[in-house]
Amino acid sequence: STAGYSYEKYNSWEKISEWAESMATENPTLVTKTQIGQTFEGRHMVLLKLGKNTGFAKPAIFMDCGIHAREWISPAFCQWFVKEAVTSYGSDPAMTSLLNNMDVFVLPVFNIDGYVYTWTRDRMWRKTRSKNSGTTCVGTDPNRNFDAGWCTVGASKQPCSETYCGSRVESEIEVKAVADFIRKNRSIIKAYLTIHSYSQLLLFPYSYTTDLAAHHSELLDIARSASNALYSLYGTRYTSGPGAVTIYPAAGGSDDWAYDLGIKYSFTFELRDEGRFGFLLPESQIKPTCEETMLAVKYIATYVQEHN
């Protein structure tokens, strides 16, 4: 049962996996659990589809959490979002309208093997856990492994590096599974959101080039408005803009790839904080962080719904 589940603690993959199963069982008209593939170590990649069953395919938003293993606040947010969707459907007009008219695909943990490794072996692990030939160094940075200017800038060709881009585009089985799912559902996916930490940023394409995206002005307006919505709750300041010029150039990122695939509303969140805790954000900050992030995500979701 999800009754005793704590959204204000960091949860192990085992708990998250059981929670996802219970969510789908307890909310059959609103939540559907599917598997989009397996990880390198053979774990099931669980995807939750949130949305009122209508019998036909609706336009959708895809959101993933936990691309980088050590960014624990990210999966915590995906769990929070699902909980909010289920509990506020029927009472919150914005969420009700969203789930009546669109579906939201939530990938609670993208890099499951890495997440498990941070729980059991090395809290600061970042990459996947795939083996690399010719070296004892393990793992690839999944956010350097997408087909978006792959390995041209801000990524490393060295397997021991934390930003290793992989042996080829989509070499990581997890990246290929996500890319295949999005490609397969390209016609209905209208927005792509990816949740990271930390730095308090709301970024959009491009990161692999300093060129501005074709929809730069609109994306900037959305990002600024979403950041303002987030700020309104606890006064947390976010910086928004295209990745390459707002922070630094980095190729192979999922948001750039999704945008180039034709998903216009493509955003990367970098959640709290600005470095005091970094990847070790205390559990006492999960609630306020998720509450304020909900405002920004709901702003974007509403915008997409209205402009679809």
Partner: protein, 95 residues
């Protein structure tokens, strides 16, 4: 439960390079010793006027502090003991 690797004495520094000399010092240091970049994500992305948060192993702390003082680069210690910070993240009062 929490990870089995321990990080006693490991520190996280915030380096504040404000010229190309400082940038090169950080990049050179990353080639000499194991630095775990928190932000930006790697040595390649270090630029002047961008704060660099980097995890330094216990045995390398003195070397890094010495280099920082010699180069005149401004810095602060964000996390004094990473192991304690890892334990402190579980601060939910219901736990």
């Amino acid at each position: 439960g929490p990870s089995t690797s321990r990080f006693d004495g490991v520190k996280v520094f915030r380096l504040k390079p404000d010229n190309e000399y400082h940038v090169n010092e950080i990049k050179n240091l990353a080639e000499k010793i194991k630095l775990n970049f928190w932000n930006p994500e790697g040595a390649d992305q270090v630029t002047s006027h961008l704060n660099v948060d980097v995890q330094v192993n216990d045995e390398d702390v003195l070397l890094v502090k010495d280099l920082l003082q010699r180069s005149g680069m401004e810095y602060e210690v964000l996390i004094e003991d990473l192991q304690k910070a890892i334990e402190r993240q579980f601060d939910n009062k219901h736990r």
